[in-house]
Structure formats: structure tokens, C-alpha cells
Symmetry: D2
Subunit: 323 residues, 4 copies
């Protein structure tokens, strides 16, 4: 497992009631230092506007080098400025759509400068809130067009589409694994794929492991993984393993089976928790499962999923983990 975190997880976090945030904001330098201090973390993901801009690429790059961290991906900002409020790639305003592509292009260039080939796209404002508010046909076509043009402009960058059913819109255009893979297939470029965020997948009512398998079956279209936990109803962005357990066992098994080679990146919102500790716990939880998944365990699970006997599967988990 190549482990990473999203840098902003170490910063301040606000919600709609407490706009100042629950904590203080450390300096970028301090956040990078804290990321590097988490055992096992080899890389960080950077969010546009918040962590990196065209102007600060070199400076951030230097900080990463000094702390022996790789830039795993850049997540361009399509959600944290007023101009994106009613959509970015699917905005009804053509100039906003152009800006969405342009902003992504800038981040693709920044990524290349940092030796990173992955742009994680989460255009959270692309969607709609109310019935009879959106031209689904037209707006979905605009999404495709913007993405296709980026894939063509940056053939050596991989664009990974992170789906999420809702928030900040009540309905996202990239809502579920299936829909988003379909979108990627319509874009029809080799350098477009999909990011699974475990929490988003839970909220979508999916079995995360099955979602990963679906992407693999479509030709290695699982480009990236974000890890966090929640109660299945909302993107709570909690410590990995604080709520779910067996689903993560199954997911880690299947990520091996499909030969996933990408990053295992933590994406949390520790509103009230000490952030470094919250991230460390997530990583230690994944490692604890990973240690159990040795060759023998993997062979046993392969047999279990062939057999389909739920009593045996449940017993295996219990005896292997809790005895």
C-alpha cells in the first residue's frame, strides 16, 4: 500500500454553522511537516486555491521535497469560489465552463511541474438542487466536452473523476460509480478514469469492493482511492475504520485481486479531532487489515467468495480477527 493524505485534512475545517471553523489554521509549512511525520505517509494531495496555485507551485514543491513527500495528485478547485456556485463544467454560463477547463489546465501544468501525473477531479458544484432546474441532457454533454478537451490537451496526465451522490448540491452529475464510468467511457480517452472515495460510495448505497471490481473490469479504470468512514447517510469524513470494518477487509482484498497499483490516500474532515492523530489512526487501521491479508488469508477468501456460504465467511472474519 502506497499511503498518502490530502494535505487540507491537517488544516482548519468549517461547516455552515461555524464558518470560522472549529480550529486554527496552521501554516502550509507546518501542515506539510505534520504530514511527513505520520509513519507510512509517502505523499500528499493538494487542493487548488487552498494548497496550491500557479504562483506557489515552486514554493510548495520545494516544501514537499524538503519533507521527502511526493505530490500524489492535485485536486483543482471547482467548489470553493463563488464563481463555481452554480456549476463549473456544466454551468449554464459558457464563460464559467471555459474557466473550469482553464483552471484545470493550470493545475495539470502545476502537477507536471511537480512530477505528478494525476489530476483528481471533484467538480462538486456540477449538479442541481431542485426538480425542473436542470437540462440534464445538455449539461451532461457540457461535462463530457470539458473533460474530453482536457484529456486531449494533456495526454500524459491522468484525469480521475471522483464521484459523490450529493453535497454541496442535492444531486451531483458524477453521482455513482456506474454513472461516472459511463461518463468516462463517453469521454473516450485513455487518460480518463474514476476515483473511489469510500465514504462517497457508502452514501451511494454501493458495495465499495464491487464498485472497484466494476472499474477494473472496464479496463483498469480505477485510477485512485480516497479513504474515510461514515454512517452511510452522509459524507461524514471520519477516521477509517471508526464505523465500518468488514467492508474495508473486503475492499482491501479486492484491490489486491484486481491488481490496483495506485495510492491509498486518506481524505478526512477531522472537525473536532486532532488531525494528525485522526489520520494516523486511519493508516494504522488499514495496516492492521493489510497484515492479516497475507497469502494464506487471500487464498482462503478466494475460496470463500467462490463458495458463497455466509456462515463460513462470517466465521472466517471472526476467527481471523477477533480470536
Amino acid at each position: 500500500m502506497k499511503l498518502a493524505i490530502i494535505l487540507g485534512n491537517l488544516g482548519n475545517t468549517n461547516d455552515r454553522f461555524l464558518s470560522s471553523g472549529y480550529k486554527d489554521q496552521p501554516t502550509k509549512e507546518e501542515m506539510i511537516r505534520r504530514a511527513a511525520a505520520i509513519e507510512g505517509v509517502e505523499g500528499v494531495e493538494l487542493v487548488g486555491s487552498w494548497d496550491i496555485t500557479t504562483e506557489t507551485v515552486d514554493q510548495v514543491g520545494a516544501l514537499l521535497v524538503r519533507n521527502s513527500l511526493k505530490c500524489v495528485s492535485i485536486i483543482p478547485d471547482h467548489f470553493a469560489q463563488k464563481r463555481w456556485g452554480s456549476g463549473a463544467f456544466s454551468s449554464k454560463d459558457p464563460s464559467i465552463r471555459a474557466q473550469a477547463v482553464d483552471e484545470t489546465a493550470k493545475m495539470a501544468e502545476a502537477a507536471m511541474k511537480l512530477g505528478c501525473d494525476l489530476i483528481n477531479l471533484w467538480p462538486g458544484q456540477d449538479g442541481y438542487d431542485y426538480p425542473l432546474q436542470a437540462d440534464y441532457r445538455q449539461e451532461r454533454l457540457w461535462m463530457e466536452e470539458g473533460l474530453r478537451s482536457l484529456c486531449k490537451s494533456f495526454p500524459r496526465v491522468r484525469f480521475s473523476l471522483e464521484y459523490k451522490p450529493k453535497e454541496p448540491r442535492t444531486h451531483s452529475y458524477m453521482a455513482r460509480c456506474g454513472d461516472t464510468l459511463l461518463l468516462a467511457q463517453r469521454v473516450a480517452m485513455p487518460n480518463v478514469g474514476v476515483t473511489i472515495d469510500t465514504g462517497h460510495s457508502f452514501v451511494a448505497g454501493e458495495n465499495v469492493a464491487e464498485a472497484a471490481v466494476m472499474l477494473a473490469m472496464a479496463g483498469e479504470k480505477l485510477f485512485h482511492m480516497h479513504f474515510n468512514d461514515n454512517y452511510r447517510f452522509w459524507d461524514d469524513d471520519m477516521i477509517v475504520g471508526s464505523v465500518h470494518f468488514v467492508e474495508f477487509v473486503e475492499l482491501l482484498f479486492w484491490l489486491r485481486e484486481i491488481g490496483y497499483k495506485g495510492w491509498y490516500s486518506m481524505d478526512q474532515y477531522p472537525y473536532r479531532e486532532e488531525a494528525q492523530g485522526a489520520l494516523r489512526e486511519s493508516i494504522e487501521f488499514l495496516k492492521a487489515i493489510d497484515r492479516v491479508l497475507d497469502e494464506k488469508s487471500v487464498a482462503e477468501i478466494r475460496e470463500l467468495v467462490k463458495t458463497g456460504d455466509a456462515v463460513k465467511s462470517t466465521r472466517w472474519v471472526r476467527t481471523r480477527f477477533f480470536s
Copy 2:
């Protein structure tokens, strides 16, 4: 709107607590007579085992003719016999998989005899219940294989895949619109498409209208529509419009926009209600919306979805329906 009902809606209904059912079971003849007596109903869907078998094709066909009803589709039985209990097309047992295809083939032949070109496939047992119980990769391939072989054997029959997130399994293989369209695309035959059941789509957390648009964008892949209502959490199979309203307005608008030419078929489970009345209400509700969606209204909605102003959309619905 070409209106239909699923014949079994007029029969007895049971659940896991009351296996004898809440009502008495009328004769097939009586059920068909009652279907024909609902104003506007031109056709019925027949469920394998329950309504039709290879042996009863001619007899059922004669009853339909006598009552001036078309056979809209046959829904082969892949859910109501013990042999399907752990899956049909994706069963771990190759002989069950063969039987699933065989049973479907028989119903395809029955359909052709009745002058019907639509097989509605709802293989409700194809899925899984527990973590670590299923080989997602292998079982999904088996689904594809079975479907492809049917599409090849019956090039003049259209096979429409009805998705549903769960029940009777906790997870279905044909779970959501996106996944199921992907499956259809992997089958890669012109005569495979998708059925939207409005209630299944609500449970999947989808916007039904957007799902319909997605299927249309993929090349007229919306083959069939089932109508019913629920509270979004479970497939309650209630009277259409008894819970939701504006979603059905939006859906009927988009079905027109995408040029949907198929049936509007009622699929309910009136456990405790007088069934004919429950079906009649669904149909009258859809007609009431349809009457409002005249040329002027459609033009107005087209403008609303281009504008995206939720205040205006909400006002339009209120003034057009409640003034």
C-alpha cells in the same frame, strides 16, 4: 401514453409475515377481466410461473384477445422458485445458470406467440447478501454471458433489464441505472436495453428523470417503464402519486423530450387495497399530469430547465397545478 398494468397486481399479495397473503386469489380470467375494465388500460404484463407457462400460452392469449388486451411484456420467473434462491444468471451452479437462460428462452417464445416483442428481465435473486460472499468479477461475467446468449438467440425480441438496488437480496447485480446500462453495453447487442421502475429508482437515490435521460443519451436504451410510488427507502409499490408529485411531473416531461415511445405500465403491490381501484388511481394521476403537459407547458418547462432558477420552477409548478 400507452397504458398497461402487470396482471399480478390484481391478485393476492403476501409478505414474509403473512405468507398466505392479505387477500383471496381471483381466477386468471377474472383478473384479466378486471384489467380490461380499467379505463385507459390497453395491455398487460405477464409474470412467468404466476401468469403464464409454456403450457398455458394459448389459453392466456385467448383470454387477452377476448378482453382486447395486448401482451406488453413477459417477465420470466427468476425469483419465485426455490431453485433460483441463490441466483439465476449468476448462480454458482452452472446447471442453474443454464436453467435461467432456458426459462427465459421459453418465455421469449411464448411472447412471440402472443405477438409481443418485449421480455422484461428482473432477476431479483442475482446478487448477494453478505460481505465476502460473492465473486463479483466472475458472477458479473456470468450475467453478461447469459444475457448475450439470449440476445443472440432471439434477435427479434427486445430484452429489457429492470434494475433494483435490493430485495430479495441485500445487494442486486442490476442495482442502479448506470450499472445496468454498463451491463447492457457489455452485452453489446442492439436488442438489450433497460427498464426503469420509478420506485426502484427512488430507492437507488436517483432522479428518475435524469436516469431516463441517461438511457436516451446512450442510444434509445430506455426500453420500458414501470410506475409505482414509495417513501424512497424501500420498494413499497404504492399507488403512483400517493407520495411523490413533482418528480412525476418532471419525469413525464422528460419522457416526452427524449421521445420515449414505450409503455407506461403500472407495477404495484396493493397488499391491503382493492387492487383495481389502486391501479385506476395511478392511471388517473398520470393522466392528470399529462393533461397539464400541453404544448405551452412543455415550452415553459424547456425554458425553466435552461434558466435553472429554482424559485421560478417552484412557482411554475404551484401556479400551474394548485391555483
Copy 3:
């Protein structure tokens, strides 16, 4: 129906991704002017910190008088300052608990100055996020103690407890109607009651009308009503009637049946909508239902709920509203 709005609905709104908010913030004066301009609105609710403080009582009061608006309630701030981040009335820190009571006391005094007898309590931070994080027994007792002391100190003020299942915590202590009524009964004072927010009730999986009836049966414990709409999964705070319809018909019927004499107050978060229009739509929707609920309709519904025939109830709604 005595109609009101929460003043902040007319201001800027932010979420966790766009902390600057989607709009600009008008002046308090401008917001009050806009509230008064919505036809039918007779009063406003004020949020502590945001709309009113001990220092600004007279000034805000004068603005209200000038605009012929009543102060319907004050909602003390127990959610929008860092000090409340881990709870107010149930905080593990005794000094924070004392501050929660003190802040409420100040707002009770402010309310009395403004001729208002209602404090709407929504201590949104009182709850917990993770398993094994809270001492449910102790913290629930602290909630009771704080509320009881306030009820004793201000016998002429009514304290209305607004429940909500989650957000900003993953679990609130005042989560559902039943739990919160039990809490009020443990406080055991005549001047404590419950606020139903329609959206919170949807998210709780409740039938809002039944919740109102439960509170009435407990001895007129429904003190206050907040109106908004959502998709049942999250507190989307949308325009009333933009998603649900028949539930609001049923609610307005039962509010009459139980003799509810309180306010019908709008509580929305029009992130991207023109706020005055969004509030106006909510009010016009409620009025449209109210107009139908004349003496004849009420008598008919009384008969319907006695009969329990869902076909008849559905037909009644259709013919009365959509013909």
C-alpha cells in the same frame, strides 16, 4: 396561519466548501425591510450572535417596529462559536455548560424586552460523532439540568426544543420527536415544549403530522413550527413544497385538528436562490393548501382518516388539487 420567517434566511449562506458563502451579506436593516415586504409575513425569528446580542436589542427592536414586524422567537447561539464546538448544554467542560445557560438567559431577557415569550432552542453541537465518545447517561442529565434551570429562572418564557437527528454532529441529543418530548417531560416544567422543523422530521424518518399529534396528546407540547423541504436524507432547507406535497396537506390538516395556535415560520437556506423569492414561494405554497382546507375539505378528511381506505384518500387528494 400566522406567518413568519427566520431573518437569517435573507442573508448570506455558506457551506464547508465555500466558507465565504454563495452570496453577499445585506445589512440587517435591509434584511428586515425585505422580510416585511413578503406578503403575509407578520414576524421574524432572530438568531443570537448573527442577528441579535445583548448590545443590539434596542436597535433591532426599533427596526422591527418600524417595519411592523413582531419578534416571534429568539434562537440563542449554541452552534456558531468555537466554544460550543464540542457541545453546549452537554459539554464535558462545566464552564461551557454554564456559558450555555448564561447565553440562553441573556437571550430570554432580550426576548422579553422585545415583547416575545418564545426561546427556540437548537443546541446543534450537543451530541457526538464517534462510537465510544460520549457518556450518554451523564450528558443527557446535564442537558436536563441546564434546561430545567432556565425554565425555573424564566417562568414567563416558553422554551421550545427543536430536534434534529444530526448535523453538525453525526448524532444529536435532541434527535427525534419522541426523544425530545421525553426530555421535555424529564425537565418537568410547564414552560418547556418542542419545535417541529418539517425538514428535520423528514430526515428522522417521521410522519410529520403524526409527530405533531404526539406532541398535542402530551398536553399541547407543540410550541412552534419551522417549515422547509428536503429529499428526506439531509436537512437541505429548501423551498416548502418544492419536493413534498401530500405530507404538507396532511400536516396542515392535523395542525388544525389539534388546535395549534403558534406560528408557521419559514426556516430555509437558499444557498443559490434569491432569498426573498424563495421565502415567498414557501408561503404561497402553504397558502394554496390552506385555501383548499376549508370546512368541507376538513370534514371530508376526517371521514377519510376514519375509513382508512388508501384508494379513497389518494383519489380525494387528486380530485381536490389536480382536477
Copy 4:
């Protein structure tokens, strides 16, 4: 932990699609023998109609004695006969309401004959499906009346109300912990209390442990516990621990803290699983947690819930269970 199972768990199980059931039905004698053979099981719960009637009391009692099993409770049948289809205690038909009380009285007498003092009431048909179908005020009063008369008639029997949000109705009258405790308090008899079914509580969106604490705070009103697991959306009645883990750790901790002295009874629906094995797994899972919850662990959790540090709580679970 005093361990029990519901006898019917070992029998055939059907759903609405497969009314014949997924399995064969063993004899009562065989089922009791299989129950006794599960290590740790000391008692069984019997369902009226299915497992026990006035006529078979002695015979069933003899079988239990022969297999050294106690009768833990009787669950009277208020759900598995057509006459209950539209409600039992809250039926609009006074003769059905009388029959509901009468049937319960018969089972109370049967229980006393078997040396059992617990009647577990799950009147699953008491509720409603559609808006505008129920007179909530009147029907809730009828529920209270029936229950009160039973409590008065059988002062030495404890009546435990098992809540469940829905199924077979879309809305139950005994829906959530809070509502049902309120109902018990309105009945106002010492011998009425509440049953928590872990799966029902998950579906209600509750934290099960907190629900148990609420009942304890109301004066030892937690009379009984049913255990099973699900995915939080529906009463899947799965093997305990097959989905959830940490919630069961927290629940077992709090059941000790509140001094719960009742049974830990398994209530599953192993549709497709070998039933004895499925029950055995549930019990072994609970035992595995119980073994960890020694004096030292309990003391540590007490400290954790006082501290409220989610990082520490998560770490404790990980190191204590997965190291």
C-alpha cells in the same frame, strides 16, 4: 450473558416473491433439538400461531423441558393472520381490537404455564401505509387502552413493546425507542417496558447503546434484547456482527453499565443460510466481544467516554481487537 434464540429462526423463511420459502420446514421437535444443540443457548422465544397455541402449550413445554431449554418469552401473533392485516390493537374494527387483546391474554396464560413471565409484543400490523389513511390520535389511544388492560389483567407478566420503524406497514405506531417509551409511560403500569431489536434500532437511525441508556434512565424500562444485523436501511435480520462491529462493542459495554439483567436473544431470518450455523455465529461473535470486555477494558472505556477523544476511542478499539 443469558443467551437465547427465537425458535422460528431455525425454520423455513419466505418473502413476498417466494411464498413457499427458501428451505424446508423441520418439525417443531427437530427445531427445539437444534436450538438446544447450539452451545450457550439456554432458552427460546416462541411465536404464537407458528410455535405455540393454547392447544399445544403442554406439548411444547414438555419438549423444552426434555431439551433443558427455558421459555424466554412468547411473541403473540398479531401479524401472521389475515384478520390482523389492517391492524390489531389499533384496528378500526372494535372486534379486531378485542381479538388482539384476547389473543395476547391467551399467550400470557400460556407463558405462565411455562414458567415464563415475559410477553414480547410486536404488533407489526399496527401502523399505516398511506398519507391521510390513519387517525393518529384515536388509533394511538386504542393502542394504549389495549396494552393497559393487558397489564392490569396480568400483573405478574411483563409486557415488552418491541419497536420497529416499518414493515409490514410503511409506518408503525411503535416505531422508535423514544415513541415507544412514551407509549409505555402513557400505559402507566409497572409491568410494561420496551424491547430493543438491534436491527430495528439501526433502521430507526438510532445509536443502539444510547437507546438502551434512555430506557434505563426511565427506570429500568429495557425489558428485553433481540440481536441481529443489517445494512441500516432495512430489517435484513442477518448474522450478528456480519456487518456492524464497533456498535456491538459499545452496546455490550452499556448493557453492563446500566445493569441489564435480561436475555440476549437472537432474532434472525437466515433465508438462504444453514440456520443453526447462522445462529451459532451470532452467539460466538457476541461472546468474542464479551471476552474482551473484562474489568480492565470496562474501566478503560469508562475513561474514554468521559474524555470524548475520538482518536483515542478509535485507537482503543483497534489495539484491543485487531493487534
